[in-house]
């Protein structure tokens, strides 16, 4: 009896927190995306080429309110995964549920509750800022008054209010991206998918965009983004999967991943080209640091105490051109997982 009473109370509370939503079962509230063995295989383009497996059986569970990141180099399968989640690319194998529904069956219904920010903006540059929002709102079947009201809020959010009547041609890259995010929010989506939202933006525009994404998260929107920037994943994401060649190679919070796959600090040494391998060998033999990676003329030594490691290197008689001690990042996680850097 008491338990039952509590459940009813919880349900009431839940409904009054989210007055605009239909009552949902408690289970469905939490899991927005569930993928098991998700696979995308593209057929061969012609007789001479072979088919290509872009996503090779990934498992994924996403909860409401999370900011979730796919991290990986170009061609890792991030965009293919995002297109399947957005219900615009059929799943080749495995199961996928988005908002509790099967995209193959209820694609339209799912899409009406999603927001999608494509990598290339895909704005209509012949139309004005406000017209781009209006057209997209119409696609969702929103009424004119609803679109007008929502557009005003979103232009404010995107800091584009005074540019509403300007043609999209006239906007900077950062403004376009903010408009694309505003457009994706026109239908008040429960889940926002962003494919490389800050690629190609200058640092200032990136930071402004991060602020906006963080604000959305605080307002309760669930976000999934892909990135090949480690700092972005580190700054924004609650949870990350590292994806490489279509498979998940690691998952966890940024902090967990750093703790699990790399030491606290990295000693970065730069050498004259050609001398790095010999120095790396000496450092390894001397047992300095936990792991040592050689990248071109750079040597990265993971360690819990970078300064001590640098002292030890100097005592070996090795004199790099340049030495830096820095905190470990997700870049180091990726390097230790795959032996490769993220951006070539």
């Amino acid at each position: 009896m008491i338990l039952q009473g509590l459940l009813i109370k919880f349900h009431d509370l839940h409904n009054c927190l989210r007055p605009d939503s239909k009552p949902l079962t408690l289970l469905a509230v939490d899991v927005l995306v569930e993928a098991v063995g998700l696979t995308k295989r593209y057929p061969p383009r012609d007789k001479h080429s072979e088919g290509f497996v872009a996503v090779d059986g990934i498992d994924l569970t996403l909860h409401r309110g999370e900011l979730f990141g796919f991290l990986g180099p170009n061609g890792a399968g991030k965009s293919s995964t995002m297109r399947m989640l957005a219900c615009v690319s059929p799943v080749t194998a495995g199961t996928l549920r988005v908002l509790g529904m099967d995209p193959a069956v209820d694609g339209r219904k799912v899409r009406s509750r999603l927001g999608v920010v494509p990598q290339d903006d895909a704005l209509d540059s012949e139309l004005s800022v406000a017209e781009n929002l209006r057209i997209y709102g119409r696609y969702f079947g929103l009424s004119k008054s609803a679109i007008a009201q929502r557009s005003a809020q979103l232009l404010e959010f995107a800091e584009l209010t005074d540019r509403a009547t300007e043609r999209v041609d006239a906007l900077s890259g950062g403004m376009r991206r903010r408009l694309t995010i505003a457009r994706a929010l026109i239908n008040s989506p429960e889940l926002l998918l962003l494919d490389e939202p800050t690629t190609g933006l200058d640092p200032q525009a990136r930071h402004l965009l991060w602020d906006r994404l963080f604000q959305l998260k605080q307002e309760g929107v669930t976000l999934i983004l892909t990135t090949h920037y480690m700092d972005e994943a580190e700054q924004l994401c609650d949870r990350i999967v590292v994806i490489d060649r279509g498979v998940i190679v690691a998952h966890g919070s940024p902090r967990e991943l750093i703790a699990r796959y790399t030491s606290r600090e990295v000693l970065e040494l730069r050498f004259d080209a050609g001398t790095e391998l010999a120095s790396a060998e000496k450092i390894r033999v001397a047992g300095i640091g936990d792991r040592t990676e050689v990248l071109a003329a750079r040597l990265l030594c993971s360690t819990d105490d970078g300064e001590a490691a640098l002292g030890a290197v100097h005592r070996l008689g090795i004199s790099p051109i340049h030495a830096v001690v820095r905190r470990s990042t997700l870049e180091d996680v990726f390097l230790s997982l795959t032996g490769r850097t993220l951006v070539d």
Binding site: R18, D20, S21, Y42, A86, V88, S89, P90, G107, R108, K109, R111, S112, R113, L114, V116, P118, D120, D121, A122, D124, E126, L127, E131, R134, I135, Y136, R138, Y139, F140, G141, L142, A146, Q149, R150, Q153, L154, F157, L185, N187, S188, P189, E190, Q215, L216, Q218, E219, G220, V221
Partner: protein, 273 residues
């Protein structure tokens, strides 16, 4: 959900799939764009054919006359409905070729539309409806000018508007089907070199195909443009018969429907691949 995203008082249609014809949203989008861009399209779809009409009416028409081949009508009255059909063909290809190939390409408008409740077939039908509207608007203007020049010999010329629209669609739907497969909008330009120009010259626009050697004549009869020209011309001259109209309309409709069937497939393949 909170402030920015939840939108107090706004509601999304509960089940968009239960609403009829979502393609109307694509049509509305095309219309909105047209408000910005119509000036540019008027030149190619209307001014060019009108210049032809004027040149023939005032100049060439007086030089050319062959009572036997033209069955006793003036060259202008013979040529104008042919030009109506030929310009409908050109409009059909222009309005489908480049817009569709841009729509399906990376960053194109179709790529945005498929992330909403619309599906590729909705987008295709909405866009085709808009193409039909543009072809029809040009045909209306053309027939009005024909009438003003005295080149329309029968009230049946009014029916040349839907006839020309159907002719345009018989080119628009296969072109859309093709354009959805091309890697670059530039490829669409080839249609003008290899399809539009030969058809213009040999499908009866400028002279009766009976002037052609038998083999070429048979080829002309197999083209949609000849049927479009024949339909528009017999209506405009008032010589149309039920049987001949039915044949022409049947042929043009079949090509249009075939184009739609193939386009449905190529749209789907390209957009969801």
């Amino acid at each position: 959900m909170a402030a920015t995203t939840s939108a107090a008082g706004l509601s999304i249609e509960p089940d968009p799939s239960s609403r009829p014809f979502l393609g109307r949203h694509e049509f509305a989008y095309r219309l909105q764009r047209y408000r910005r861009t119509w000036r540019g399209t008027v030149v190619i779809s209307l001014v060019n054919p009108l210049l032809f009409l004027i040149a023939v009416g005032l100049g060439l028409g007086h030089v050319v006359s062959h009572p036997a081949a033209l069955h006793g009508v003036s060259y202008l009255a013979f040529f104008a409905p042919g030009m109506l059909a030929a310009s409908a063909m050109q409009n059909g290809i222009v309005e489908s070729g480049w817009p569709v190939s841009r729509g399906v390409s990376k960053g194109g408008s179709y790529r945005v539309a498929i992330t909403t409740p619309l599906e590729s077939t909705d987008i295709m039908f909405g866009h085709l409806l808009f193409m039909a509207m543009q072809i029809a608007l040009s045909a209306i203007a053309f027939v009005a000018v024909m009438a003003a020049f005295g080149a329309a010999k029968s009230w049946l010329a009014l029916l040349a508007v839907p006839a020309a629209t159907l002719t345009g669609l018989a080119f628009a739907t296969p072109t859309a089907a093709f354009a959805a497969t091309v890697s670059s909008p530039k490829v669409v330009g080839n249609l003008f070199k290899w399809v539009v120009m030969p058809l213009y010259l040999f499908s009866g626009t400028f002279f009766p195909v009976t002037q052609l050697p038998l083999a070429l004549r048979a080829l002309a009869y197999a083209t949609p443009l000849w049927h479009g020209v024949d339909l528009c011309r017999t209506l405009s001259l008032g010589t149309a018969t039920w049987g001949r109209c039915a044949m022409d309309v049947g042929f043009l409709s079949a090509v249009t429907v075939l184009g739609i069937v193939v386009a449905r497939h190529t749209y789907r393949r390209r957009l969801y691949g």
